[in-house]
């Protein structure tokens, strides 16, 4: 039809003085935005196709390109904002559910940015991380609350299985299918190098990556993709995915176009058919059922691997967590509503779930109140964006942090939020071989290692500033935090005082 | 160990460089009859064209002989080899001992019998630097130059002097130019180019006799001239080896180690006759790259290492007023022809191998890729021959082969 409701969101601005017509923008745009006009010997751009992924901008050798948000807009309206209007146009066009990728961009409060960290002065000296040892190593798993001795009176030191982390950060679940082979390889190599873990997500484990098993957490999700005995025993821990922060209450979705031979083999599903995971695990309808699955997995792996249960942060998360802590699980992973996704219905992603900061604080408080905090370790994720967020999360009670969006950014992602199209220009959220090639795992893993190493240094700096020299002493140490611009209720849930108090 | 080299051109330098890689202490003596530092003969036409200078056209820099500890004896001619005493007798009366000897005497111009040739005052050959300098002395803007021979030397001479003279006429008995290296289509393209650059070509004809400043041709045509250049052909300088009892055919016969039939005597360059690796027949391959590599091989064998050069083949890279021609191998078997605006490409395939090619014009790009197919006798079934015949690409080789060519340690 000859009528355009949707004006292109972005404009490609090319500085004609600087452009040397090298055509790298044309060669590297999978959305075919740029092309070369031989007649005029100039590059031309089709703004309608631009998704603002910055591939062309990043490669242009003379910095001739920039992508600008269009200033074409609707009349100012605090209620009917432009993107809300456009969503209606889209649905009137397609009649379909709006799909979206990555974490919600909506303007909800970011509690990380409303908490401040302490520093030592005068009464309690700070520690210089360059001169004194700082311990960022941590162990995830059930911690026994009693000291036990054998018949000879010797201490029994055997513990439940633990995950040893050099740094309290792990790479969160991203399935092979939503992201590429090379992205997985980068994560696996980096996890190995750093002495931390990465997560297979619900796509199964590719046979080439079994060699990194010691640094792998294998996930068992509702679709049970790729789950078989060797898979369970290949990893260092098993994670039961009950929910995901970006889309609580529903299952995963991988469009059929992204399912080629390799994905089909790894997930054990037919090629080119949409892979939609069911909302619940169809064998878990109660907390007792969860306990049963936890122990089934422990049996299958001879009790050698910790079991993680991953849930989305929702309204009664503390009650849920309490139930999980009594189910025999070793670790609870909580995923906040800001978490990313390869593809999810936009409305669910933008309106369902609660912030991880509040969920974490309330879960940690509740478990301590019930005296079962030591039953489990807490791992949190859902938009941890910097080492400061990590410090705040640990101070609120987390044992370790899951990051995913931050990891993808390190690999080159520019948060254009078009993963669901499968044409990721950075080789991350795509299965097209000519695009996957763009992510060289040697480069990708090095960038991930750099990121985590940098965060680790910053964590030590901030810890030293607080006068703390080990992560254990920071964990749950709410006194190290103060709120700023938070109301009474928020301060109470977070369990922190206001700055100045 | 005394190494002695007769000849001070390309093969000689190749020999010196490879001896010195192995043996830094043995003495090397070079005896050359030209009183110049080693220069490359093909450059004399470029000298006249002002594309190079006498200094720049030396093959190696001034310090070369000193750095390589070479005793130079220039302006001297070797008269005989005594293989029993292992001595050379020089025209100044001295004797030079040798343990290993390389004969790199090159060739000399062939002067065909022509009636009254001796009466032509300004007659020149076009082989050596001195030839070029002598020719230059007599050329003026009014000169009418007659060149006998439309082969490589004759035409390069024409190109070199074109801007210095009034007219140039080239005469050859053959029906077309460059008959030794090109096919009809190629000769025709080159001839057209020469004519467009003001050079008159008279083919299928020859000089019957010279009368004053006129050349009477067999066809009856008369060509007036002021300067005569004879570029009919060359004769390999074989006398030293022949008189010493060595086997000689059209040139000095050598095996793959570049040794002659005489013990401890080697030969290399235009004076030698080796095996053409494509035809497996004896052939004089008077091409500069072959000369260097033969000299190099001889040097290694002389210094005690085992070396052989079994990849000698015909090849030529030559250009006339911007029209470039590159040819290699033999023109047999079935051929693939690609015509372009400026020229063409012709590839010759026999027994599943590329045995030769002719490239003229813009098709000369990356010609070396084709040369390597011919030289290595690559089985064309192992590569994408359709692809590579359209465009010389390493892509045509299999993935493993590419990784080996481009990725392996040298």
């Amino acid at each position: 039809m000859g009528i355009n409701y949707l004006y292109p969101d972005f404009e490609v601005h090319r500085d004609r003085e600087k452009c040397i017509t090298c055509r790298v923008c044309e060669r590297q745009c999978a959305n075919e935005v740029h092309s070369y006009d031989a007649e005029s010997n100039r590059m031309v751009s089709d703004d309608t196709k631009c998704v603002n992924c910055h591939r062309c901008v990043s490669l242009c050798p003379t910095h001739a390109l920039k992508i600008v948000k269009t200033n074409h807009g609707f009349k100012d309206n605090a209620n009917w904002k432009g993107d809300v209007i456009q969503d209606i146009y889209r649905q009137a066009d397609s009649g379909g559910v709006l799909l979206a990728s990555m974490g919600t961009p909506k303007d909800y409060p970011v509690y990380w940015d409303k908490m401040l960290i302490n520093a030592s002065q005068v009464t309690n000296p700070s520690i210089d991380p360059l001169r004194e040892p700082m311990e960022t190593k941590t162990f995830l798993g059930q911690k026994s609350s009693k000291i036990r001795r054998d018949e000879n009176g010797k201490l029994i030191t055997k513990t439940d299985p633990q995950l040893a982390l050099n740094i309290p950060i792990m790479f969160s679940a991203m399935s092979y299918g939503s992201i590429s082979y090379n992205a997985h390889k980068s994560l696996a190599l980096a996890a190995q190098k750093l002495g931390i873990f990465y997560n297979t997500g619900e796509g199964g484990l590719h046979e080439d990556f079994y060699q990194y098993g010691k640094n792998t957490i294998v996930q068992v999700a509702s679709g049970r993709f790729g789950v078989h005995p060797e898979y369970l025993n290949a990893g260092a821990a098993i994670e039961i995915k009950m929910g995901q922060g970006a889309k609580p209450g529903i299952g995963g979705h991988l469009p059929g176009s992204k399912i080629g031979e390799d994905i089909s083999k790894t997930r054990m599903i037919p090629e080119h058919a949409d892979a939609i995971s069911p909302a619940p695990h169809h064998d878990i309808y109660s907390i007792e059922d969860l306990r049963q699955l936890v122990y089934t997995l422990k049996e299958a792996t001879a009790y050698t691997k910790p079991i993680i249960v991953k849930v989305a942060a929702v309204h009664n998360i503390s009650a849920i967590a309490s139930g999980i802590a009594r189910s025999g699980a070793d670790i609870i992973a909580i995923d906040g509503f800001r978490g990313g996704t390869g593809a999810a219905p936009a409305r669910t992603r933008d309106n369902v779930g609660i912030p991880i900061e509040l969920a974490l604080a309330s879960v940690d408080t509740r478990l301590r109140q019930e005296g079962i905090r030591n039953n489990v370790s807490l791992v949190v994720g859902g938009s941890i964006r910097s080492s400061a967020d990590v410090i705040k999360a640990i101070a609120l009670g987390a044992d370790a942090i899951y990051i995913a969006t931050s990891a993808l950014l390190a690999l080159g992602c520019h948060l254009c939020r078009t993963c669901q199209s499968g044409k990721c220009n950075w080789g991350i959220a795509t299965q097209r071989p000519e695009l996957v090639k763009r992510l060289n795992p040697e480069v990708g893993s090095e960038r991930l290692v750099n990121l985590i190493t940098a965060w680790n240094h910053e964590i030590k700096e901030m810890m030293g500033g607080m006068g703390i020299n080990s992560i254990e002493a920071l964990r749950g140490n709410r006194l190290m935090l103060r709120g700023i611009g938070l109301n009474e209720t928020e301060l109470q849930i977070l369990g922190i005082a206001h700055a100045g108090q | 160990m005394h190494y002695v080299i007769v000849g001070n051109s390309i093969a000689s330098v190749g020999c010196i460089e490879s001896i010195r890689k192995i043996d830094q202490t043995g003495t090397i003596s070079v005896i050359g009859d030209e009183p110049h530092p080693c220069y490359s003969r093909p450059l004399i036409s470029y000298l006249l064209e002002n594309k190079t200078t006498e200094e720049k056209m030396t093959y190696r820099n001034d310090a070369f002989y000193e750095q390589n500890n070479v005793k130079l004896m220039l302006g001297k001619r070797v008269q005989a080899i005594n293989t029993e005493t292992k001595q050379l007798s020089i025209d100044d009366g001295s004797l030079v001992d040798y343990d290993k000897l390389l004969i790199a005497t090159g060739s000399c111009p062939f002067i065909p019998p022509m009636k009254n040739l001796e009466s032509v005052k300004n007659r020149f050959t076009f082989m050596t630097l001195d030839d070029a300098k002598n020719l230059e002395k007599v050329l003026t803007k009014e000169s009418r130059v007659l060149i006998i021979g439309a082969g490589l030397i004759g035409l390069k001479c024409a190109e070199g002097i074109r801007d210095r003279v009034k007219t140039i006429t080239v005469v050859d008995l053959a029906s077309r130019v460059l008959v030794s290296i090109l096919d009809e289509a190629g000769s025709s393209l080159v001839e057209k180019k020469l004519i467009s650059e003001g050079i008159t070509c008279i083919l299928g004809d020859s000089v019957k006799e010279f009368v004053n400043s006129d050349a009477l041709l067999t066809s009856g045509r008369v060509v007036g001239f002021d300067v005569l250049v004879l570029a009919v052909g060359v004769r390999p300088n074989v006398s030293l080896v022949k008189e010493a009892g060595g086997e000689v055919n059209r040139a000095i016969l050598i095996d793959e180690t570049c040794q002659t039939s005489l013990a401890d005597v080697y030969a290399a360059g235009d004076c030698s006759e080796s095996i053409d690796c494509i035809t497996n027949e004896r052939k004089v391959l008077a091409i500069l790259p072959n000369a260097y590599m033969q000299g190099e091989t001889a040097g290694r064998n002389m210094a005690g290492e085992d070396a052989f050069f079994d990849k000698a083949m015909a090849m030529n890279a030559i250009g006339f007023f911007g029209l470039h021609v590159i040819t290699a191998g033999i023109y047999q078997g079935s051929d693939k022809l690609f015509t372009t605006e400026s020229g063409y490409k012709r590839l010759f395939v026999q027994d599943g191998k590329l045995v030769g090619y002719i490239l003229i014009g813009d098709t000369i790009n990356r010609a070396g890729i084709y040369t390597s197919l011919v030289r290595n006798k690559t089985d064309l079934a192992t590569i994408d021959f359709d692809l590579i015949s359209e465009e010389p690409l390493l892509m045509a080789f299999a993935k493993k082969e590419r990784a080996h060519k481009l990725g392996d340690a040298q």
């Binding site: 003085e17 590297q28 | 070396g368 481009l406 392996d408 040298q410």
Partner: protein, 142 residues
């Protein structure tokens, strides 16, 4: 000796190596000034077909056929690196005939040019290696 190696597994066929090469050898400080409105003639060239791509430049062979074929002695090997003395080159194309990698080509002045590992321009380190966005081109010893 370190050489430039191209790993075809990571080459994206983006051609940036060619542009950085042309810029490095242009003698200009500004890439825009060096390359705007010019057809480039780089010393490293990308071959691409059917989804495979890789760039080819001089291998600096241990047994350099180009050096042995040069009629002017313009090509020489110095500590493994093969360089051209452009003032000696007469543009006969013998080296083009000889090089099995097709790594030599005429420049704008009609004399030969080839990769010299950026040792003869102001860049010092090979520009193609620095410009490759996917670490497909490396500079190492093998």
């Amino acid at each position: 000796m370190k050489r430039v190696y191209v790993n075809e597994q990571w080459c994206l066929g983006c051609h940036l190596c060619e542009y950085y090469c042309a810029y490095a050898n242009s003698g200009q400080e500004s890439m825009v000034k060096a390359l705007k409105d010019r057809t480039i003639n780089p010393r490293i060239k990308v071959e691409e077909k059917n989804g495979i791509s890789f760039a080819v430049n001089c291998r600096h062979c241990n047994e350099p056929l180009c050096v042995k074929s040069c009629i002017a002695g313009a090509l020489s090997q110095v500590d493994g690196l093969i360089v051209i003395d452009a003032s000696k080159c007469v543009g006969c194309y013998s080296c083009i005939m000889a090089c099995p990698y097709g790594a030599l080509m005429p420049n704008e002045e009609g004399v030969m040019q080839k990769c010299e590992l950026c040792t003869t321009n102001t860049h010092g380190k090979p520009a193609c290696v620095q410009g490759c966005p996917n670490k497909a081109i490396v500079f190492e010893e093998r």
